[in-house]
Symmetry: C2
Amino acid sequence: VLAVSGHSIGLLERFAAELFAAAGLDNDKAATVAHFLVLTDAMGRPTHGLAMAPLYLAEIEKGRASAGADAGMATTGEVHVIKDSGITAVWDARYLPGHWVMRQAIATAMQRAQQHGLAAIAIRRCHHIGCLAALVKVAADAGCIALIANSEPAGQRVAPFGGTQALFTPNPIALGYPGEPNAVLVDVSTSITTTSMTRQKHAAGEAFEHAWLNDAQGRPTREPAVLEHSQPRGSLQLLGGAEYGHKGFGLSLMVEALSQGLSGHGRLDAPKRWGGNVYLQVMAPRHFAGDEAFAAQTGFLADACRSNPPVVVSKPVRMPGDHAAQNLAAAERDGLQLAPSTQNALTQWAITLNVRTPWK
Amino acid sequence: VLAVSGHSIGLLERFAAELFAAAGLDNDKAATVAHFLVLTDAMGRPTHGLAMAPLYLAEIEKGRASAGADAGMATTGEVHVIKDSGITAVWDARYLPGHWVMRQAIATAMQRAQQHGLAAIAIRRCHHIGCLAALVKVAADAGCIALIANSEPAGQRVAPFGGTQALFTPNPIALGYPGEPNAVLVDVSTSITTTSMTRQKHAAGEAFEHAWLNDAQGRPTREPAVLEHSQPRGSLQLLGGAEYGHKGFGLSLMVEALSQGLSGHGRLDAPKRWGGNVYLQVMAPRHFAGDEAFAAQTGFLADACRSNPPVVVSKPVRMPGDHAAQNLAAAERDGLQLAPSTQNALTQWAITLNVRTPWK
């Protein structure tokens, strides 16, 4: 019998699902959101794991209380298909929970990609979709390539290159593809750092090690307070910062064009609800040069990366996704430790919603 | 009558086409390569304009002299279609001139995207495709979105993050989409700087302003010589450098997976010929939320960028593609000035090939 130093993944999933259901989310939606949040913690990305659950619970309560412009998360019903050609589609997700919408979108796109080689879905008005790496992993583990570009048209935290006024969100791009011993999971924001990292630094009273933000005059700063606690507000620096931030600007525009331009909803509509727009694309390598050729080329490259002589002898090169796979294996074996702040917040919600916690 | 301060675009195109044809390239291929190189100069990107012509001419001579492993550019014939599902395709470009292959690939993918919404072509063994912005412009000017990811499996100039040995190439990603008053043309390498910029710095005896390379031990350096003139060789830094180069690493892996994994040819095959692998994807917005919705969302965003209060009052925010459009208009009006080194090299080739130069 192995020593369990944390909470079992299964117990955490059931607990989180009970919380979401008790707050008013449909059961299948509650279970799916819980699954992805715990998976995200298990992959070692706690900013987008169960730490999000209290925020989602507050959104569910808002969603049940109001149907107005700031109505929070939608708790029931289906996505509306705006358009569908079989290869391309546009969905209106009506602010339904993002993980649940994305699981459905990925399954749909995977089925179509297996048939046609390629399929894309542009999604408007999705609620927060969380950790992109956890989502593309679903397709990659099933032998497909998944690309996600995600923006939040209600948020303004990144200025265009050479500008001072926040306009974009961190606009991540993710690509997952199958690999050995684990899938390759690329997941990068097109700003240097992210909203959640900045909030975490601010809450801890810490400055960033490097000047990854700009103040309201566009001057580089390490101070997280400029993002949400100063007037006038500053912004997160684009990938490339002051030196070559035109590159992050270009990539960020790419995410906006794919997720808002193709879905036909975005900043022009000045939405106020917390949510995300998504461009999802799934590709099946067998419709290109074949699964074996894809595995041979990408496997050769992964080997060449992992065996590359490292800068620091004790730090071998890791492929994106390697660390997540190791964390996940450890969490499945030993359970998960939650941050005290997360565990406390969940305990409060459990009391409010009359749900039993998996801890004393 | 406007004063013409440079060579007319039409004359330069005809001259370059004559050079390529005299060297042995099929006439239509010669004309297409000449068109794109001059367009690239006119867009203000001289490193990938006619400065490439002497290198291509040497490759054409190699191609006519040998059919071996380092046989240069193929001068005649067609691409081989390896696989084609109508939505996805794999082409073997047999080292035919990259601009000519790409013009054909873009036309094919555009036609299919107009019909199905989305089409992709993975291309192996293409010769150099030059400036990606000039290529995606073709689709963007026709109302489509074009994405290109490009790698060179015969080149090793960028190390994986945390590694010391060069493995990748600068691996650019480009996205073009329609816009007013000009198309938006994103074109970014996933390394901070590029091979051609580094060669230019080295030739001029200059160091970079910032440490954008690593020496063979992985230590940041401003010295361009480490890339090709030191033993053991250094490498170009990934986008994000020492601080957050894991992001450039992820994006570079994305380019390798799409351009080599999907085309089924790449570093595993250890090619020695100068060439590129390409992933091309074209999307038609009308099959998503529609051309008007796409123009409304992306147009709103472009306006918000261009009118963003600038960091430096005299430097308003520019959209990617704005500068190229201004340069192109100026070149069409006033003609083009070539760098003396480019003009001299072309003059030498003109003498060798018995072609008349457009200058005295």
